[in-house]
Symmetry: C2
């Protein structure tokens, strides 16, 4: 079973099609890498790319993407609603199959060094790759944005991990790191009372004492006239899908409210879904690596 | 997403290691084919091979396996407990990914013709490939075994589909066909009373009026002192895993008996497991092809 790594970089360009295409082509230029998706938001002036493949190829594609972004994007003239600090803003590596997190961390550090050496780009390591706890969170690193970054990097606690205490004049800085796959999982309730969804969201999310690696908000689905618990599952190994669903179901019962359905937005790794199948089917000692047919391929 | 086809042929040799290895090497000789597993039973004097890959390669590997079996195995001197009719006894093709059943049927017929043309082997098409309803079931075709086959093929209803109304002198005949993947799914009950498992098995199996494509038996697990409903799921598209489990749970409740756990023996296609995850997680409109990360690979 070949190793699989995913990469989901964000660049600070969501308007100029020719630049977005040039960056997409940089990814496509690496054999063995599958560019699954890329999408742009004009008001954010930002694009996100998703690609997948064997780790060496994915790391090479990430480098070429960064090189194309640095070449075409000048943060000094960039405007958009989304916070940003670099032409290529963030590059996460995600282990998908046959890889430990530690290997993604090692590869993210190697990429960080290369971005500094070859593109003269200062690099912050974040998430699992962070060099200190206060540097794990991307929002904390990005605070101050491109415009404030030249000053921020002079502070001892915000020295970049590679590339010196300075910014690239046009391309700013970049965050590179390893993290678990993120699953966007929403649970719909048979009530139009959004305050119930908000109370449940507060119970389940880690930040208010709930489940590890879970972010959640109550939102209203106007078109269906029902409330939804909108969830980001940031580490399905720590908190699996079924546990979140059953806890939501359990808490909703207090209000006589039921789960009418759920949705996964975008992609989910096979493992997260089979893990929940395994729970509900009460499978004893099921070994995904050895017993899922598709995992037997070389 | 590349197409994937599985093949699980049985040969009438489970004792002579050098023959089993020669047959395994015939499969391995085709690039792009992954020989997942092969196992032999000496008392049955029979071996089963499991391999997987892109359809053209799998069909070629199946041909080479048959050629090696015909070369090395002489049914006139074969003894074993398992019923058999050929040196290579049966060759099923199974659609795994990106394939319809119809394409497997077409490919099984092409292989049957080739086995007849190039190896002089009479061929019965069975299961989804069968040329008449009474020829779908392998056991019905095999009845009479090698020793009775020369006479059986003279009967109009048992003329082979390819190769004439005769048998190969040493290699007999072979059944070739397409079928759905089979999942061996066992459900353990918290009772040592095997008659309860047997009664539930009778309720769920198709042959006594239960669920489509389900075979089931009650058996005793002596080492755990509990009864088990032992199930073959012959088409998880028609009857999914969760439906069998929940029906067994429901019927067991009549006796105050509970499901303590389940097991999948051997391999399961990813799709069958994600299908059950999707049911229990109450996913609305989840599209495996588009939303499972691994399915995005070329």
């Amino acid at each position: 079973m070949a190793q699989l790594m995913e990469c989901i970089p964000n660049i600070s360009e969501g308007r100029r099609t020719e630049v977005i295409e040039a960056v997409a082509n940089a990814v496509r230029s690496v054999p063995g890498v599958t560019l699954i998706d890329y999408s742009s938001d004009a008001s954010h002036n930002r694009s996100v790319f998703t690609f997948l493949g064997e780790p060496d190829s994915v790391a090479e594609a990430a480098f070429r993407l960064a090189r194309a972004a640095v070449e075409h994007i000048d943060l000094r003239v960039h405007q958009g609603e989304h916070p940003r600090m670099g032409a290529v803003d963030v590059i996460p590596f995600v282990p998908v199959r046959g890889m430990e997190m530690e290997e993604c961390v090692t590869r993210s550090k190697a990429l960080g060094k290369r971005l500094s050496d070859e593109l003269d780009l200062p690099v912050f390591l974040y998430e699992e790759s962070a060099s200190a706890p206060h540097r794990k969170n991307l929002a904390a690193i990005r605070k101050g944005q491109f415009e404030g970054m030249a000053e921020k990097v002079l502070q001892a606690e915000w020295h970049p991990d590679f590339g010196g205490n300075r910014i690239h004049p046009s391309a700013g800085v970049v965050a590179v790191g390893a993290r678990q796959p993120l699953i966007a999982f929403n649970i719909n309730l048979d009530t139009p009372d959004v305050s119930i969804a908000s109370r449940i969201a507060k119970i389940i999310r880690e930040s208010s004492g709930g489940l590890k690696a879970v972010k959640a908000l109550g939102v209203m689905l106007e078109e269906r006239n029902l409330a939804q618990v909108s969830i980001n599952m940031c580490d399905f190994h720590q908190t699996p899908l079924y546990r979140v669903l059953e806890l939501v179901r359990f808490e909703a019962a207090r209000y006589g409210v039921h789960v009418v359905g759920t949705e996964i937005i975008g992609l989910s790794p096979m493992e997260a879904l089979i893990d929940s199948a395994s729970y509900y089917l009460q499978l004893e000692a099921f070994d995904q690596k050895r017993q899922v047919l598709e995992n037997q391929l070389l």
